[in-house]
């Protein structure tokens, strides 16, 4: 393959990388702060896409309002889930929250499928990008859909913003303190429980946002998150569990790797990420950007 084609694929890989980054960012925030392995993340991503579709069908809302409303709704649902279900499992073995969130995934998928079939008479629905972003733009080296460029840009902004809030602001400091040592933080008069719920809601909201962004590219269907979530978990592990920078950088890197792989030798495209995970874990068991357990 010539250099130009390779460059094109590197560029193209950033789009999928954007989704991996947004999703693993949410997972990393939730795991880093709350020690919850949220297996329902893929289903919540799908719920974001489905909410955007349903808002469009029921209320005639277009892409832009949905881009704000759907993640908020998914975030609120996340808060409810955390308060009513997940919070009961704190202090128990992690396998409990894994089972719970996996069950929630199955439940959500089937529920959405039922609603789509009975209410909209389809099991896979189309969703169009907004008018200004439809069509392609000639970048000189490649003709590329405008909407995909927007996805790369927006997710970069969100990633930087999240990183900034957590690392550089007072809010971030409280969140970090609440998870590092909840007892001491409570002693400062901070309601740790509320912060935990808030962080979970935001993390899940990020998945919802990724879902809305994905709707115009992939068709909206109940199982759209199932495949993606596996790769996303690999991304989180490679980047270092809980590391925000790690998940964003690895997210984009894995997207690029898969795109280049798909162009060079398609059958291995989906396997490459696991090969990478294997190699990284051999060399750095705590992931690329993860700190060793003792150093936290």
């Amino acid at each position: 393959m010539n250099t130009q084609l390779l460059l094109i694929q590197v560029f193209n890989g950033l789009v999928n990388g954007a989704f991996y980054a947004l999703l693993s960012l949410g997972l990393a925030v939730i795991f880093g702060m709350l020690r919850i392995v949220n297996f329902a993340h893929g289903a919540l991503y799908m719920l974001g896409a489905f909410t955007a579709f349903a808002l469009g069908q029921a209320l005639g809302l277009g892409f832009w309002p949905s881009l704000v409303i759907a993640p908020v709704l998914v975030g609120l649902l996340g808060a409810v889930l955390e308060r009513t279900l997940l919070s009961r499992l704190y202090g128990l073995e992690p396998s409990y929250n894994l089972l719970l969130t996996f069950g929630l995934t199955l439940l959500t998928q089937d529920l959405v499928k039922q609603v789509m079939l009975s209410r909209f008479a389809v099991s896979s629905a189309p969703y169009s990008p907004p008018e200004v972003l439809s069509g392609v733009v000639n970048l000189g080296f490649v003709v590329f859909p405008k909407y995909r460029l927007f996805v790369i840009a927006l997710s970069l902004v969100i990633c930087v913003l999240t990183w900034f809030v957590i690392e550089k602001t007072r809010v971030g400091a409280i969140i970090r303190a609440s998870t590092e040592n909840p007892g001491v933080t409570r002693a400062f008069g901070i309601d740790v429980g509320k912060w935990v719920t808030g962080v979970f809601a935001v993390g899940v909201g990020l998945a919802g946002l990724a879902g809305v962004l994905a709707a115009p590219i992939y068709s909206v269907e109940p199982y759209m998150g199932a495949e993606l979530i596996i790769t996303t978990f690999a991304v989180v592990v490679i980047g270092g569990l809980g590391s925000i920078l790690g998940s964003v950088v690895t997210g984009f890197a894995v997207g690029v790797l898969a795109a280049v792989g798909a162009a060079l030798y398609p059958p291995v495209a989906n396997t490459l990420v696991f090969v990478l995970m294997f190699v990284v874990l051999l060399v750095r068991p705590s992931g690329l950007f993860g700190l060793p357990e003792g150093a936290r």
């Binding site: 094109i8 099991s123 490649v142 859909p145 068709s219 795109a259 398609p266 059958p267």
Partner: protein, 403 residues
């Protein structure tokens, strides 16, 4: 001879006929629809296929009074998994006493169920599974392949598209039995008609949502036709992204291996407009197909897909064979089916080839209409040509079937 004697005599003569009309196992014919009731193919087959088989049973009982009340239809979910399909087939035959199996979407599931049914001497009518293995290396005495197969799709679409100026192709296919087979057949059909491949075909992961890498490759290769052998939801994603990358405007046409009405509905007619495919049937083909489709829609609430229409036809063909054999014994029904010729609302000029059990019927190459050209709801296809039954399917000389 007075009137009473005459009537009595007639009655006496007719009685044994009625009693001998059927020797049915368990006193009735049980039709088993083994299908996908929950997954990706549930819309194009699923409950609609069960309904279609029920309609066939009702119509048959109306026409053959001797069988009234003696046919039952049950639908079972095989989840598109080969192991589940095999287990469910065995369960249906052993526990429910099912006398035949019909539908069978997903090639691997169809092959698995067919192998089980063979051991139990139960006829199987595969309608929705596509692999040509069913009538080749994996053929058996009890399996019949109805409606379509990969050879027919490739032969129809590859020929039609290439002859209409699609001189160079770039093909992608899902990397499993169905996709690999369809890619082989399609490539051969393109080359036989003077077309060439702009680059070797690419095998894509299955299932897969993102096809951008291949679409960008197509952008640089500039073939006349971007051929996609994906099916169901994967096909919907490919076509969606084909439009997103603006390939049509860049002069790259779309060639589709396997197309169901539900795929077009999922994405909207305009996304598919202009694409050419081969189908065994469509609801507004003629008055007969329309009439049946209306009846189905009334019973089911939706227009039938060609897979569902095929299930109706296959079930009816089976029941007619039972009537001819006067028994539902597997071997006798198979004998009655072999070599049979018929013509119904779905299968035109149909013959059941005795040597490999391929059901030959007329098929159509169609082009998807733009929404603006549709004359009524669900008016999806313009018929380009009809391929006669004798030419549509793999010739016997190429078949690897040893029964």
């Amino acid at each position: 001879m007075n009137k009473t004697t005459c009537a009595l005599l007639t009655l006496a003569l007719s009685l044994p006929t009625a009693a001998h009309a059927q020797t049915l196992s368990g006193g009735s014919i049980r039709v088993g629809v083994l299908t996908d009731l929950s997954g990706v193919y549930s819309e194009l087959s699923g409950q609609g296929s069960v309904k279609a088989a029920q309609l066939a049973a009702e119509d048959f009982m109306k026409a053959n009074k001797a069988y009234a009340g003696k046919i039952s239809v049950s639908g079972v979910d095989h989840q598109n998994k080969a192991d589940v399909a095999g287990n469910k087939a065995a369960e249906m035959i052993d526990r429910q006493g099912v006398d035949m199996l019909v539908d069978l979407p997903t090639s691997s599931a169809a092959l698995s169920a067919a192998a089980v049914a063979k051991g139990k001497k139960i006829p199987v009518m595969v309608v929705t599974g596509g692999t040509t293995a069913l009538t080749n290396e994996s053929c058996n005495k009890y399996t019949f392949h109805y409606a379509y197969d990969n050879y027919m799709l490739a032969n129809g679409t590859g020929t039609a598209v290439t002859k209409r100026g699609g001189s160079s192709w770039y093909i992608i296919y899902p990397n499993y039995a169905f996709g690999q087979d369809l890619n082989r057949q399609m490539t051969a059909a393109v080359q036989e008609n003077g077309g060439k491949l702009a680059a070797p075909s690419d095998a894509t992961p299955f299932p897969n949502t993102d096809f951008s890498s291949y679409l960008l490759k197509a952008q640089s290769l500039k073939p006349k036709i971007f051929g996609t052998m994906q099916a169901g939801n994967d096909l919907v994603n490919v076509v969606k992204q084909y439009n997103e990358f603006g390939l049509k405007k860049q002069g790259v046409g779309l060639g589709i291996g396997l197309l169901f009405e539900t795929d077009v509905a999922a994405l909207g007619q305009d996304a598919f407009a202009g694409a050419i495919a081969t189908v065994p049937w469509f609801w507004n083909f003629d008055a007969r197909s329309r009439q049946w489709a209306a009846k189905f829609e009334k019973a089911f609430g939706k227009k039938p897909t060609w897979a569902q229409a095929g299930v109706y036809s296959a079930t009816l063909t089976y029941l007619n064979a039972v009537a001819r054999a006067k028994t539902d014994d597997g071997d006798a029904v198979v004998k009655a089916l072999e070599g049979a010729t018929f013509d119904d609302m779905f299968a035109r000029h149909a013959t059941i080839r005795a040597q490999d059990h391929r059901v030959l019927l007329d098929v159509h190459t169609v082009q998807v209409k733009a929404k603006a050209d549709a004359k009524e709801t669900g008016d999806l296809f313009t018929r380009l040509s009809t391929i006669p039954a004798a030419k549509a399917f793999m010739p016997l000389s190429e078949s690897k079937c040893r029964m």
